[in-house]
Symmetry: C2
Subunit: 125 residues, 2 copies
DNA sequence: TAAACCGTATTAATCGACTAATACACTTTG
DNA sequence: CAAAGTGTATTAGTCGATTAATACGGTTTA
């Protein structure tokens, strides 16, 4: 069963955050093909958002071929390994590029950036 | 004169992006105390947004003590060195922490994260 | 089979970001 | 001084994200 335990609300529309959350969990292998999604109503209650907002996210995931929804039954994850790698690459490129761009705009030298990242990596372990 | 050349529109409210942009330029030393801000109307035309949106950002910057506005004349940057370092630290902590959190959620090992960042750092030089 | 659960859809309403138009008083500048 | 430029404020309106309430038909399950 797909879990939303690691979901932490951030910036921007919630339905977009949900889509990205699922994709990141898929990249990590924490969500796998065949896994069941909790029902729209359960998710909405878990995250404290409206069922319609959840449905909006699920609609996007279905349009992208990541979940499959049979009306009446729970949705399931349906992606293959090729697609998983593709999603992972896309997310990584976007996130790493963004992080690098920010650090460079702030005038941080590469070495300092590495030590910073190493520091925060340690703190959370 | 404060420049908006490096401003690239991203996610979230524009007035918040403007505030962060100014702070990052300050962190980098590209914006310094005494620098003049372009007028609200000029900025709005530069960025293609409404003057009121620009004013909203400037109001925040003034409330935080980063700019000083005399009605009728251009606003100027007024922060001291202590404040500059404080701003830089705040931004770095937030950005680096966020980036690390994302990479870890995706199950990226530390070594791979470093090589990724190194790669994108190179590409833009 | 029947109740409980599920995906889906519709309609209306709220809220914040942003636009738009305009006005006023102050300062800089020629 | 006078014109142009500037910060500030007000009011109204648009638009998208989100909430809210509700309904319908298919699937699970006891």
């Amino acid at each position: 069963m797909v879990s939303f335990e690691r979901f932490v609300p951030g910036d921007g529309p919630i339905y977009q955050q949900m889509v990205i959350y699922i994709k990141r969990e898929i990249s990590a292998g924490a969500i796998q093909p065949g896994d069941e999604m909790p029902s729209r109503r359960v998710i909405s209650s878990l995250l404290g958002v409206n069922p319609n907002t959840v449905q909006k996210a699920c609609k996007i995931l279905e349009d992208e071929g990541i979940i499959q929804s049979h009306s009446g039954a729970k949705s399931i994850i349906v992606l293959d390994e090729k697609m998983r790698k593709q999603i992972k690459t896309e997310l990584l490129e976007a996130d790493a590029k963004k992080a690098v761009g920010i650090l460079k705009q702030m005038g941080i030298p590469k070495t300092e950036a590495f030590s910073l990242i190493g520091k925060f990596w340690k703190e959370e372990e």
